[in-house]
């Protein structure tokens, strides 16, 4: 044992030496000499109104148990599946979002096993011919392209909850039969952080095409991680990869990254001690931050996959696939180029996209409400994009954030915003006045047009040719004789104090530039 350890240490040393000799600088300090290989299987619940094969409605996680159950979902005798076309559309959208290739022909199979969350004793999935193959996601931070193996449609299971007190489980069939897509990646990720970035990118993509809510906390997005390690020199040659273990049911990105790290260390530990990693399915204990054995390879069930005789093969014509492509919402990359072309900076665009990320996902592919980008598009139509952007993201969004409101809860309508910007453009209100108006509408939820409100609140800008302006300037000069004298003497910077005085006395309604000009005129006489 000692000799083996020594031999292994020599091996590690040699590996480290090799690495320092090579020009590869990007090694991970946590496990020097080792390459981590991660593949992810994600189950995303499709945002369809009805379930995959029955008419009952997809439910949210907090609904009354067993309130959305059709006889088919409970596997009652004599029931038959009927494919929901909306689910096919959403799955195709997901395929396009991931640059995957929709298959003209796919089919449905039964995966058999006995468990209390599976009323019919089989899950309808797509084992032999999935709806889409291939694809990839580019991760900008990790600078890695992760390839997609396939996307398949399948039924979700019911939700079982173990009650320790009663030593029994309860079964909630609300979720049984809901539509899922399973997205299987290739083992292209090389660190827990890359896995994290992959998940976040996947969530953004699927939400942007309204395929799924992708909410891990609510259970509409679940992932399993396949982890293995091998010496760094193995590179990308699959035949050199180590034995992988699958970690199931990871509930958050944070826990997923911790679980992957723990599993990597476990593998390294085993191998360093001369052992061999056995292929296992493992769970993750959030309390101990460690993985535990669920099932060994020998206990792996034979699912007896059988083509479902009730469901004919799904044949998709090119015209149908094209119509889904054309009818779907913009993909993030298209949004980026479009917004950039309107004159926004890259930082502006990323910010807008991140604010937009909180928008609702509508059912059956309809765009949800509360999208910042849609709001921006409509407000900025036919006008200066940058100014619209600033007012929306800085002033409006700023007000919302301070009030702990999300953009979804924005009370200002597109028309009100456009009116406000019109007033500003025509100098009918000043910027300070506009900010006051904005705040007023957010707080009072007024539906009135900004112009009407401005008049009511006395916020209309002072007209330059009215005598008011000259009066206020005269009043300021009188109020600040010392500063006036300094300006007359040639120091223009002090002029701003006088401008400030006029702005205050006009309650921001005077045009600052005009005031500045007027004062200078009057003091230079």
């Amino acid at each position: 044992m000692f000799r083996r350890c020594v031999g292994f240490r020599r091996e590690i040393k040699r590996v480290i030496q090799l690495r320092t000799l090579s020009s590869d600088v990007s090694y991970d300090k946590r496990w020097p000499g080792w390459q981590v290989v991660v593949g992810l299987e994600v189950h995303a619940q499709l945002k369809s109104r009805a379930k995959l094969f029955s008419n009952s409605w997809t439910s949210t996680y907090d609904e009354v148990p067993n309130s959305h159950v059709a006889p088919f979902d409970a596997a009652f005798p004599g029931t038959l599946p009927k494919l929901n076309a909306n689910c096919v559309d959403l799955a195709l959208r997901a395929a396009f979002a991931l640059d995957s290739n929709p298959q003209r022909r796919s089919s449905f199979d039964r995966k058999h096993y006995f468990y209390s969350d599976l009323p019919s004793g089989y899950q309808i999935t797509q084992y032999y011919a999935p709806i889409s193959k291939g694809g990839s996601i580019y991760l900008p931070k990790s600078q890695r392209t992760v390839r997609i193996n396939q996307i398949q449609l399948e039924q979700d299971t019911a939700k079982t909850t173990f009650i320790p007190r009663a030593q029994s489980s309860t079964v909630d069939l609300n979720r049984a039969g809901s539509a899922l897509i399973e997205i299987v990646s290739e083992p292209d990720m090389r660190s827990p952080e890359e896995a994290g970035e992959y998940i976040r990118a996947l969530q953004l993509l699927l939400r942007s095409v309204a395929a799924s809510d992708c909410n891990m906390e609510e259970g509409s997005f679940r992932c399993d991680a396949n982890v293995s390690v091998c010496p760094k020199e193995a590179g990308d040659d699959v035949s050199n990869f180590g034995t992988r273990c699958e970690i199931k049911n990871l509930n958050s990105v944070k826990f997923m990254m911790i679980a992957i790290t723990a599993e990597v260390m476990r593998h390294i530990n085993i191998i360093s001690n001369g052992g061999k990693v056995s292929q296992e399915t493992r769970g993750f204990d959030e309390h101990t931050a460690d993985t535990y054995l669920l099932r060994s390879k020998e206990d792996a069930p034979d699912y007896r996959y059988m083509p479902d005789p009730n469901l004919p093969p799904l044949i998709l014509h090119d015209s149908y696939i094209m119509s889904v492509r054309e009818g779907m919402p913009e993909l993030p990359d298209a949004t980026r180029s479009r917004l950039l072309s309107r004159g926004l900076s890259e930082r502006d665009v990323e910010f807008l996209i991140s604010v937009d990320g909180g928008r609702e996902v509508g059912f059956d592919g309809k765009l949800g409400r509360g999208g910042a980008i849609a709001f921006f598009d409509l407000v900025s139509e036919g006008r200066d994009a940058k100014s619209a952007f600033n007012w929306i993201t800085h002033d409006l969004y700023g007000l919302l954030v301070v009030r702990s409101m999300t953009f979804k809860e924005n009370p200002i309508s597109v028309n009100q915003m456009r009116d406000l910007l019109d007033l500003l453009e025509r100098d009918q209100v000043t910027a300070p006045s506009a900010k006051i108006l904005l705040k007023h509408i957010v707080d009072s939820r007024s539906l009135e047009k900004p112009k009407v409100l401005a008049q009511k609140l006395g916020l209309m800008a002072l007209k330059e040719n009215a005598g008011q302006l000259e009066e206020m300037c005269r009043a300021a000069i009188d109020a600040l004789p010392e500063e006036a004298a300094v300006v007359r003497a040639g120091n223009e910077r002090v002029l701003n104090k006088l401008v400030g005085h006029v702005m205050r006395s006009s309650r921001g309604r005077a045009n600052a530039t005009a005031v500045h000009k007027k004062l200078r005129e009057m003091l230079q006489q």
Partner: protein, 464 residues
Amino acid sequence: LSGRSVAVKDTICTKDMKTTCSSAMLKEFQSPFDATVVSILRQQDAMLIGKTNCDEFGMGSHNLHSVHGPVVNPHVPPLTSVASGKRSAGGSSGGSAAAVAAGLCYAALSTDTGGSTRLPAAYCGVAGFKPSYGLISRWGVVSFADSLDCVGILARHSSEVKNVFGKHATAHPLQPDVLNLYDPKDPTSAPTEVRNAAKQDSMSFRDAVRNRQRLDGVRIGIPEEYFPKELEPSSLTTFKGLVQRLRTSGAQVSRVSLPNTRYALSAYYVIASAEASSNLARYTGVHYGTRVPASHSVDKKKTSNVYSHTRSRGFGHEVQKRILLGTYALSADAFDNYFLQAQQIRKLVRDDFERVLRHPSALSSPSKDATLRRSGVDFILYPTAIGSAPSLDEAKNMSELEVYLQDVLTVPTSLAGLPTLSVPIGLGDDGWPLGASLTGQWGHDESVLELGDIVERVSRESAL
């Protein structure tokens, strides 16, 4: 069908009566919905007089495997024939056939997966029809083997079967068919265009025959592979007699060959058992049906440990056997050798029929250019069973292989999904009923029923 009494097989769901499938598993089960065929009958004001006994979950050929006990064939042989005690009514729809034969109802609904309607029809001396697969809705019909299951119709005569299936003889042409309707709830229900295409093809025959009641120009093929050595001599004689009379009525009777018939029975049992093992996985006592609790000593963490208690007590011996065989056929080791092979044989059996029939199937070719095959036949005719009904004792003592052999003549058209009608053609030497089966192309159900009418009449006339 207003006021007509109809009995319903206990594997078809009825909201107001229990649906037990003759199984301890569903002994007290009441479905929350009606099967589509039941709804249609209710809409037509038919009187649903009750549920009929059958083999458990449709699995059996003699109606012996039932939690309610065996069905007894109600036929009373003429006094001159040998006394043989109680005989089997056939299975799995023995109850439905017996109810019709005993005059308890006008018609009965049944199911037919491998002969479950036709065999009891032949044994009880009534007409039993297995329509083309996909014509009658299976919504609410408890699945045995989805790719084979059909709703069947039993009545004393083909004309009465026709009234339950399609339009009444005196009905207005624009009145909708009765049970022969598209059902959106059934994913295997044939779409309207395909039904109409097939109907178009067979229209000329129906018009010709309806008016003249003769069979001139009608081509009937008799498959040479359908006369196994097990076929009882009396059945053969009666059948030959029928063929002679059909020739006299003008039919062109010829010999045809369906060479893959010899593999059909094995393929059928592999496919049917495999699908049954899948469809019966849901019976666990968790959501409905009988539940047998596991004892305290059982390791409840493994689900199958808990389920096995209910399933071992709830299922009868025959059902358990088929589930085990079917599970094996789907297992990773056996899948290629059994299940896949069986599917390939199924295709060969279908191709045999397609080659021999004159009209191409509306399912596989565009109906516009339905070019008739010069040497094809319109219908295929053969004995329904290898003999008359066995006695209950004989049936109970048969070896398993012998039992499965009862299906050898009915199974091929189940695999091919073709419409087949068993008509009563008289009594055998032992005084018990015999039947002959008529098979047509997919979707030509009305033609098959018309021909059945004529064959029945021809048989009756000769008996006089």
